[in-house]
Symmetry: C3
Subunit: 326 residues, 3 copies
């Protein structure tokens, strides 16, 4: 999904981008215009890309990008037409350059562009509560309900028949038809992402969005952070209970049922028809298969194949767990 | 406790109710007027009841209801004067018929009946913050405090000397004297209840309320869902810390102390004088005795007798837990 | 840090203070004026102090206080110039007398002194959202952002360049420069502290504040309670994710990274550079060293020395945990 929300402030000359990176030592790099920053696979010739782990060497071999942030010992995998820009920390440099292209993706101050709803005409029937605020670049489908004191900040698109509760805050989010979001949710803020530094941590940009598929429900007090380089996704007809936390870049499938106070650490992919009991936690960067059942209170720290039931901390096959706990 | 809040749209003719159930195959059922839908024990002759598990066969034998939603293999337990209406899924059919009697119990869109508080005269001394909204059928005892931006939606009764924080949302709730509810709570919304369906889950009605006994305290950011067929109850002088989630139909006793981030999965009964440490979880449909102590972080998945101390995941007797963890 | 916020209603005559304590039996106590109530070490001759455990007998020997709430079997440790006031429950009596000196520290009703922000001139550039309320004794550094519907109750001081989200509630808090507080946080309310009583629990006073060091970030939906006798502290450059609960009197060091849904039970001291994974819990009154890593979902129930990695429930050395879980 192409991000429709963050303004690209490019193009920039390569040398101007290189000036953003403090730890830089590179010579003889040409100085063409760069339009955007993309991953190895989706980059085109007018883009800068990044390559930080040997795991991606096949994608590196075939990238179409003209420039690549990388490490000295990885540059040999790049094709000749892609000039390496060697740095000490690829992700840190990527972060700095992304911030130059998309400065609006870092600043998560409150959206001061919002207006009181009486001032705005949306052209479709929307039922607003009292004291609703709506920012720039917001679109509503027909027959939506937006509760009292709710703040729809900039960059939000609603399908039809959505029911949004009161005291909700949303930004940078696409919401499909028939979605319910209950009271007090915070959706679309930047995630918990930064490079630790002893004096002052450096936040990295979040240019992803939150996407919520049709017929889904989000329980009261739930927080869903938008993605950093990719998006945070909730599938179709997936129901989330109260006080759930979904960190940046998680992708949750269709028809999932997730009980109260569950937490996802970030960048995991959850299949379809997954059922998760209350207070379970899912670590980062995992792949949870289709039709998986995760028992309440479980701590999931490794991938789970399709059609598996697990429980425990760390989670085990359910039969094993029940046997052990006797 | 009779529910004072949801309007009963009945009576209905039996044949009209039967038309609500898609999987229906029944012949020769009389077509009398039905006033309400009740459980086996409380139903009277002008009511419809339901019977879905052999566990309740003694109650079935003695029901006074004239009609009963049930399974083909259970109808033999019903008395002669009670006509069986055999269905494939009793609870699903019950849900559809309940929705016909109480349609307002499904729709949890924000309450658009609320009015700005300056417009309303309550006849007793209530101290309101700024931007307070109050819905229909709300009553206050004397000397209550209602904080800024708080939304008292329809169907709420307060005793005297209640202190409600700011950014709180309450509906369908009875609150006795001297209750404190801290900032940002959401109380009385429908619970996390639905029949899963691959295209679009079917929410079931929540005709219960939330009841909070006198002298109790509810910590900031806590969510308490109202009951589905019964009520969600917090006893007298029971103190809840911050960020607790209490799902539908839980009944919590008097003088309990429940620390932060504890979660209850639904329909459990907790005794008096129970102490629960932070982040513990209690599964659904359990019976926790009086004077029970549950250690922080425990996962309770079976009943606990009176006067017992437990800890662990799954929780064990405390001595056993301490021995095992060495 | 001296508490700048709660008004001291003293001085009081000793006999008037003694009348506050129901279980009192003391004779021949002089009736001087008492200015304040302090711990054994910081008390001066015009103060009342308290001594409830033999653990503190060395401090008792050297106290400068003229009066001391204590137990009959501990009074022998006090110097001659300090008159013992013997009670059955030192902390309960302390609570009652503290409430007499600082009555504003118990009442946590919403702050009705707040005013709509248009009415107030702060003398520095502050960017306010819509519907912001600000109470008495609030100071802003330059270039702060305060989001929509946010309520800054009485007794809050901001440094420069602070970014406060929307729907936030803050009271009794000192916030240094460059602090971000995301949406929906509740900061500075009284903690979960009371003496259980079968009819009506007795809340104890919270005369501490919340202190948040420079460059720190507090995630959405987080709750931080103020201290009871001491303060609740978040160090410099410490980042908290969403839905964290920090109970009263916790002191968290500098440069810590704390992931989502973590909970702290109260009165623990956490070192610098500590990393805590999501959903972990830390029991009360613990000492966690510098550079400690606590794995996600862990339950910490004892002190952890510096430079240690732990995981598990109850938490163990990480290597031990990984070995056990195979």
């Amino acid at each position: 999904m192409k991000n429709p929300f963050f303004k690209n402030y490019g193009p920039f000359k390569v040398h101007d981008l290189i000036n953003e990176i403090n730890d830089f030592e590179n010579k003889n790099i040409s100085n063409n215009l760069i339009e955007d920053i993309k991953d190895l696979v989706s980059a085109e010739s007018n883009h800068l890309t990044f390559f930080h782990s040997k795991k991606y060497h096949l994608q590196a071999l075939n990238t179409k990008a003209s420039y690549c942030l990388t490490l000295n010992n990885l540059k040999k995998y790049l094709p000749k037409k892609c000039q390496p820009i060697c740095v000490e920390n690829v992700l840190l440099s990527l972060s700095k350059i992304t911030a130059k292209f998309y400065p609006d993706s870092i600043n998560d101050d409150f959206d001061s562009s919002v207006k009181d709803i009486q001032e705005i005409n949306f052209g479709v029937k929307v039922k607003f509560g009292k004291n609703v605020l709506v920012g720039e670049n917001v679109k509503f489908g027909k027959n939506c309900f937006i509760g009292h004191n709710t703040i729809i900040e900039k960059n939000v698109r609603f399908g039809s028949n959505c029911s949004i509760g009161s005291n909700v805050i949303i930004r940078n989010t696409i919401i499909e038809d028939n979605v319910s979001i209950l009271d007090g949710c915070v959706i679309g803020k930047k995630g918990f992402g930064f490079f630790p530094n002893n004096k002052k941590n450096l936040r990295y940009p979040h240019i992803g969005i939150v996407y919520i598929g049709e017929n889904s429900e989000i329980g009261s007090g739930t927080t869903i952070d938008r993605g950093s380089m990719s998006n945070t996704i909730i599938g179709k007809n997936t129901f989330l209970d109260n006080q759930i936390h979904i960190a940046h870049n998680n992708k949750i499938g269709d028809n999932c049922i997730i009980a109260g106070q569950v937490g996802f650490a970030g960048s995991s992919v959850i299949g379809d028809n997954v059922i998760i009991g209350g207070q379970a936690g899912v670590s980062g960067h995992l792949k949870i298969g289709n039709n998986v059942h995760i028992g309440g209170g479980s701590g999931v720290i490794k991938d789970i194949p399709d059609n598996t039931k697990v429980m425990g901390y760390p989670s085990k096959n359910l039969k094993q767990f029940l046997k052990n706990s006797k």
